[in-house]
């Protein structure tokens, strides 16, 4: 039996729309579930107190500090490398063998799962370089993990800077580096910041790459050579070892809210940036 085209279209649209709705429903459920269970746990004491009894009681303050510091250091390391790469690829070379090799490396790096980064960070930074479990080991590992994101967004942002900006700069007698520094990068800044925000979001939610490199110490870290625990790791340990479901929910809620804020800002910036260009 042949279904008339009009009817098959109606069926198809209903199914496709249904699938999209289902996806959205899952998203809404995840967020509502976590916030619904977690928000009642959150208060100032929970945010600003130190954990007691391995996190069974008390707050999560040191893990908030860990979650702030680790991505910050990671970005401080990855940003010069990533933007440098992007500037080199766009302003200093033409597409050719070198650029395609670099791009291949970046693409491959982007596909590596975080547990592999964790293994690498553990063997290289923690063990071979004898840095031990510390913020710096974790941040270096995360920096490598987010490098592809930073390279790609910076590249897009730099490519979107109109050529006339460069020409004006050259015509004023500027050198290539002066042009990059004063004409190209300032105009590419919103795009670069978007990449940074996306990377921060990824670092905040990361567990596998962090737990084997930055460790799980619950103490407030004194320096970059101290171990620290991020919220994601803390949440994982609370949930997995069944220490406290209540505090796990609370931590999850703070974690999800932070990630949502960071990602919304980067999404909003990306779109503002794109529409600003096309206008």
């Amino acid at each position: 039996m042949r279904i008339p085209p009009k009817a098959s279209q109606a069926i198809a649209v209903a199914l496709l729309g249904g699938a999209t709705l289902l996806t959205l429903a899952v998203l809404v459920f995840v967020i509502v579930f976590v916030l619904g269970k977690g928000l009642p746990v959150i208060n100032w004491a929970f945010l600003l107190d130190v954990p007691r009894e391995m996190g069974k009681a008390g707050g999560i303050f040191p893990t908030i500090v860990g979650t702030l510091v680790l991505p910050l250091v990671a970005i401080a390391i990855a940003l010069p490398m990533g933007v440098g790469t992007a500037v080199y690829l766009t302003e200093y070379t033409r597409p050719g063998r070198v650029t395609s090799v670099i791009r291949f490396g970046t693409d491959c790096l982007a596909g590596i799962p975080s547990i592999i980064f964790g293994l690498f960070g553990y063997i290289f930074f923690v063990t071979i370089l004898r840095m031990g479990w510390c913020i710096l080991s974790g941040a270096l590992t995360l920096a490598i993990m987010v490098l592809p994101t930073i390279i790609r967004t910076a590249e897009e942002a730099i490519k979107a800077v109109p050529n006339s900006y460069r020409e004006v700069s050259y015509s004023l007698g500027a050198t290539r580096w002066e042009t990059v520094l004063k004409a190209v990068l300032p105009n590419a800044l919103p795009g670069i910041v978007t990449g940074v925000m996306l990377s921060v979001g990824r670092c905040i939610g990361e567990t596998a790459a962090v737990i084997f490199t930055a460790g799980t110490a619950l103490r407030l870290p004194d320096s970059l050579f101290d171990s620290a625990r991020t919220m994601a790791v803390h949440f994982y340990i609370l949930a997995r070892e069944g220490i406290s479901n209540e505090n796990a929910y609370g931590t999850a809620a703070v974690l999800v809210i932070s990630v949502l804020i960071v990602n919304s800002v980067s999404y909003w910036m990306m779109h503002k940036f794109i529409s600003g260009r096309s206008a």
């Binding site: 995840v30 799962p113 063997i123 990361e206 567990t207 949502l260």
Partner: protein
């Protein structure tokens, strides 16, 4: 003759430009250096095709973990690929602009939710549902496949959406001009033209599913056995590494790195396939 400063800058940038490639090589070298010699000493065949994993007695066989990873990944694809492709088609071809503008950012946000959170939802919500309605322990291949299927949705949707969006408008107009309905033009013309990009999105999703660790540890149950049904508990390659890494020393640790080597090779093969599919697409357009 360029000034010295300019040349220093250029060389510095050139050095930085190789940072990603150098990192990739460094990762490969150190994972292989820790894991590959062990694999060779034990015998690649014994390592890959034995299901006997008892580190205390010197038995290191990862076959059950390989099977578990394959099952969980394929299950996740059964959930994530149809849903994701359907979502991408709907958003690109049928949803009004206003709907798309709301839904797309929401789906991007789905990508930002940390994997531990998905894992926890799997434990608290999905596993109990499976236990009550289908039987078994709840923590199972099925639970892992459902959670991972959702986790790969943003990857599948955003990449296949790009692929569908880059199909030239004239293709659609041609089909419509021949009297095709909207849906006929979509499934006969647009999807055919976008198929390599869609394939790439599915393969990249697979890569994510294979590599996902924390969520799987929490929901798959972590029993080192070859599963006989979707309700059986399994331990994937990634889960085994993460579970035992903290306490492993000596040969045991090398065995985990060897497991990492297998995982690394698997992921690289998947990424290579996805890149090839993407290249095919950009060559055409």
């Amino acid at each position: 003759m360029k000034p010295v400063g300019e040349r220093v800058v250029e060389w510095t940038l050139k050095g930085l430009a190789f940072s990603a490639l150098a990192s990739l090589l460094l990762i490969a070298v150190f994972i292989f250096m820790e894991g590959a010699p062990f694999m060779v000493r034990l015998g690649v065949k014994d390592f890959l095709f034995s299901s006997d994993w008892r580190p205390q007695e010197g038995h290191y066989g990862i076959f059950a973990m390989i099977v578990a990873s394959v099952w969980v990944t394929l299950g996740a694809m059964l959930v994530g690929a149809p849903l994701g492709i359907a979502g991408a088609v709907f958003l690109n071809e049928f949803a009004p602009e206003s709907v798309r503008r709301v839904i797309k950012p929401m789906i991007e946000l789905l990508a930002g939710i940390p994997s531990v959170v998905y894992g926890f939802i799997g434990v608290m919500v999905v596993a109990p549902l499976i236990r009550e309605h289908l039987g078994g322990a709840g923590l199972s291949v099925l639970a892992a496949a459902l959670i991972l299927g959702v986790m790969i949705l943003p990857t599948v949707i955003s990449i296949s959406s790009d692929a569908i969006g880059s199909v030239p408008r004239s293709y659609r107009e041609g089909a419509l001009a021949l009297g095709a309905t909207r849906w006929q033009s979509v499934h006969m013309v647009v999807l055919k033209a976008a198929r390599s990009g869609i394939a790439a999105s599915v393969i990249l999703g697979m890569g994510r599913a294979v590599g996902e660790t924390m969520a799987v540890i929490m929901v798959a149950g972590n029993a080192v056995t070859i599963p006989h049904s979707p309700l059986d508990s399994v331990c994937t390659l990634t889960a085994k590494i993460a579970l035992e890494m903290g306490s492993a020393v000596g040969l045991h640790r090398q065995a985990l790195f060897a497991t990492g080597v297998v995982l690394f090779i698997g992921i690289m093969v998947l990424n290579g396939l996805a890149m090839a599919a993407m290249k095919k697409r950009s060559a055409r357009t």
